[in-house]
């Protein structure tokens, strides 16, 4: 009997050993913890960029999506002939300089989604302290552009200029089409038969929903998910209640309710 026991024991150890060996021969990737930066108000651009590069390639987890350029645009290579991120960031959105655009991209990623990609990026402030977000912005600016992030940005809890304030009201306009454009609604919803199918089309929305239903969908996008779009539940920003004035919200609601 002892021979059987020994054979069973050796078999178990061999099987366990084989799996352990397989797990050791594959690439050993470790998930890093965001490190605390000790960058003061007198930090140099070079130190900011270096810190940002560490966060970008490590704890920020940015390369999981931006590394290959399939789930999200590659930051370090040319995209659609517009150059690397430092070169293209200033021309992405009208009225936003590079720093403001990148701040918005990292803290309100749903506000502007590059055509051809989905709105899958989280608000990085839930993952990283704000000084590290600024360091990442400095690193991205250094990729083909000028680094304008300074120690003053790190020192303040909110961005330095009004152009970079989080969740700003886009403009004072009450033109519904302009509002849909400015709030990046058309990045996910089609209108006039054109646009990406990430959210339900605005064409005929007045037949499917009442004005109250449309208002609720804007303010509480996850309260009721449209049939056929379940896989995108949770992707629509929940910030429009703060972003839009009451007048602007009503302008959009009435405009959409009339599209029957």
């Amino acid at each position: 009997m002892w021979r059987t026991n020994l054979k069973v024991l050796l078999l178990a150890v061999a099987v366990v050993g084989f799996y352990t060996m397989v797990a050791h021969v594959i690439p050993q990737l470790e998930s890093e913890v965001p490190e605390s930066l000790t960058l003061g108000g007198d930090v140099t651009p070079e130190a900011l960029v270096a810190a940002g590069e560490r966060v970008y390639n490590g704890a920020g987890g940015c390369t999981a999506c931006h590394g290959l350029g399939t789930r999200a645009p590659n930051m370090l290579t040319d995209h659609a002939g517009e150059g690397t991120i430092g070169a293209r960031c200033g021309a992405r959105e009208a009225g936003k300089d590079c720093k403001a655009y990148l701040w918005e991209s990292l803290t309100q990623p749903g506000a502007f989604v590059v055509a051809g990609f989905e709105n899958i990026m989280p608000d990085m402030r839930r993952q990283l302290p704000e000084d590290q977000v600024w360091a990442v912005i400095a690193f991205l600016q250094s990729q083909g552009g000028e680094v304008t992030v300074t120690g003053a940005d790190l020192a303040s809890a909110t961005p330095a200029s009004s152009a970079t304030a989080p969740a700003p009201a886009v403009s004072a306009t009450t033109d519904p089409r302009q509002l849909l454009q400015e709030n990046a609604c058309l990045g996910c919803h089609a209108i006039d038969g054109a646009g990406p199918p990430i959210g339900p089309s605005f064409d005929g929305v007045g037949q499917r929903l009442t004005a109250d239903g449309i208002r609720r969908s804007i303010l509480e996008p996850d309260a009721e998910v449209a049939k056929g779009f379940e896989q995108f539940a949770g992707t629509m920003p929940k910030t429009f209640g703060q972003q839009l004035s009451g007048q602007q919200l009503e302008a959009i609601v009435q405009f959409l309710a009339a599209r029957k």
Binding site: M1, T4, K7, V8, L11, A12, V13, V15, V16, G17, Y19, T20, V22, A23, H24, I26, P27, Q28, L29, E30, S31, E32, V33, P34, A59, G61, A64, C65, L68, T70, R71, E118, I120, M121, P122, R126, Q127, D222, E230, Q231, A233, G234, T235
Partner: protein, 564 residues
């Protein structure tokens, strides 16, 4: 400066007293081992009662005492395993309270009430088990037997409730309800709100099925051990049959497990895209290659066992020529499934490959190819089961030939759908491609269900080509059952690491940060070392339980006749 100083003081205050120290291996490894071994035993004591009641029911309805004996034998193992589960659970709680007091305080403030209910249910569950086991011989006939069977059913109910509660705690750590942030007071979260989170039900279902798989494989290993140790032909025949039943339950439930896994994965993506990407495409992407290696071994060992088993069935010779082709298909599919998509390469290697993706890996290492491969492996394994089932039967129904042809057509159609969508997946957007896996899975499930229904009807009144010669199995077949049990156990540890590791440096995702020295999620090599230690501890203790089971049996057999 004052603000920075205050922040520093706050950070120190937050961390002081938050973590304890454990000598030698550190706090994380200590809690990891305690939690994993506890979970392995918990899976065993939840999985085994499921088919203890099923086999008892078969015995009652079919009036076959063989099944009743088998069911009682399963249950005897449970009595010992329950103690081990409770002991490791106590170790885990003590480790958590002493090594992770801040985390424990957070959880207790939210889940206190459910923790008391959990302990209460554990008591009730244990006493139900004792009644079920020790009442076996007293309530063995007539209405009393049905009452006894009801106790088994109740035992399953308690066990499932206990598991669902514990799953609420761990899934809250993965997917706390939206609106809960680092600033939220734990008392204000609400226990039910925290339990009924996004991943709770997918984990519940996934674990229910996985427990049946795990329990079946351990029982099969027990049967294998007793087969090898058997002194008589009768004993050998009984344990050969027991190993077969355990393995049948393990593999048949295992076939549906990937579908529960798809649901869980989808819920994780819907809850948080970043978490999903970390799991499938981030630092954990290579974990799925290791998983593919393990599951490939499972498929090969399961099929090998069935093919060897056909040697003891008269009439099975007619299927033998096909097995080499099935083996070839399984191996090719396994290789495709275990093909990585991206390689970590040097600049020179990238230049040689002509890009970040090797042209060969870029074709086979993608989901279209992998889903196709795994579905074909499931179909092949089902075909092995069917051959095994049909081996000694000669159908007598008038439509036997056309029924068999329909079964063949169903197999062919299912394989064609799987292949078609596999190839078509290369020509469409990712979001469309993801939906194709549903069609592939639906085709395979439809085939399995349809063919089984036809086969049951075909078997009615079938002539026998000869009785199965239970016990006449080569010894190597029993070692295949050991390989299955060890692999299932290791796989459970690996998936536990995947589920827990995707939280990365968070105790509770984006709510309670891990600020300990072990906050970084380790690489797979380190994780594999811990998993292997857990597996060896668990298997060592299970071997001890098996030995105890044998002792108890000998003691009962040697007891003087009289009142028990």
């Amino acid at each position: 400066m004052t603000t920075e100083l205050l922040s520093l003081v706050q950070a120190v205050a937050d961390t002081t007293g938050a973590y304890g120290r454990f000598p030698g291996i550190g706090a994380r490894a200590a809690v990891w081992i305690a939690a994993q071994v506890h979970l392995m035993f918990a899976a065993f004591v939840l999985g085994v009662p499921m088919f203890a009641v099923i086999t008892e029911l078969i015995g009652i309805v079919g009036k076959d005492p063989k099944y009743d004996k088998l069911s009682k034998e399963f249950t005897r193992l449970l009595v010992f395993a329950y103690s081990a589960t409770a002991l490791w659970g106590a170790v885990l709680v003590f480790f958590l309270t002493t090594l992770y007091p801040r985390f424990w305080s957070h959880m207790a403030r939210i889940f206190g009430l459910s923790m008391w209910i959990y302990v209460g249910l554990f008591f009730v569950e244990s006493f139900t088990l004792y009644l079920y086991y020790y009442g076996w011989d007293r309530w063995k006939a007539g209405r009393a037997k049905w009452v006894h069977w009801g106790l088994g059913l109740l035992l399953n109910g308690w066990g499932t409730a206990v598991m669902f509660i514990a799953n609420g705690w761990l899934t809250y750590m993965m997917s706390p309800p939206s609106g809960v942030t680092a600033e939220t007071l734990p008392e204000s979260v609400g226990t039910w709100n925290a339990i009924a989170n996004a991943t709770w039900m997918p984990i519940n279902i996934h674990r229910l099925i996985a427990n049946a798989v795990f329990g079946g494989s351990i029982v099969a290993a027990y049967g294998a051990y007793r087969f090898l140790a058997a002194k008589t032909d009768e004993e050998r025949a009984h344990y050969d049959w027991m190993g077969y039943v355990g393995n049948f339950i393990a593999i048949s439930t295992f076939i549906v497990l990937p579908f529960a896994g798809y649901w869980l994965g989808r819920e994780i993506y819907e809850y948080n895209q970043q978490m999903g990407i970390t799991m499938m495409g981030g630092f954990m992407s290579w974990l799925w290659i290791v998983q593919a290696v393990l599951i490939g071994v499972l498929f090969l060992a399961a099929n090998y066992y069935l093919w060897l088993g056909m040697g003891r069935i008269p009439g099975a010779e007619r299927f033998v020529p096909y097995t080499k082709w099935m083996l070839l298909l399984l191996v090719v599919c396994w290789i495709i499934w275990a093909t990585p998509h991206t390689m970590i390469a040097s600049r020179e290697e990238l230049a040689a490959m002509g890009g970040s993706h090797h042209p060969f890996l870029n074709v086979l290492g993608v989901m279209s190819a992998k889903n196709t491969a795994v579905n074909l492996m499931i179909l092949t394994t089902f075909l092995s089961f069917l051959m095994y089932r049909r081996a000694n039967k000669r159908p007598t129904v008038a439509w036997a030939r056309s029924g068999t042809i329909v079964q063949g057509v169903m197999f062919a159609l299912s394989a064609a759908v799987v292949l078609l969508y596999g190839v078509y997946g290369y020509f469409v957007e990712a979001i469309v491609r993801i939906g194709f896996s549903v069609y592939q899975v639906a085709a395979v499930l439809t085939c399995i269900l349809g063919v089984t229904v036809i086969d049951v009807a075909l078997g009615r009144g079938a002539e026998s080509r000869g009785a199965i010669r239970w016990g006449q199995m080569p010894e190597r077949s029993q070692y295949a059952l050991f390989v299955l049990a060890v692999t299932f156990t290791w796989l459970m540890g690996l998936m536990g690491f995947a589920r827990s590791g995707i939280r990365q440096h968070w105790h509770v995702w984006e709510v309670l940060r891990d600020t300990s020295v072990d906050a970084a999620t380790p690489a797979l090599g380190f994780a594999a070392n811990i998993i292997s230690v857990c597996v060896l501890i668990f298997l060592g203790l299970v071997a001890f339980i098996f030995w105890l089971g044998g002792l108890a049996e000998r003691a009962t057999a040697g007891a003087p006749a009289g009142r028990h």
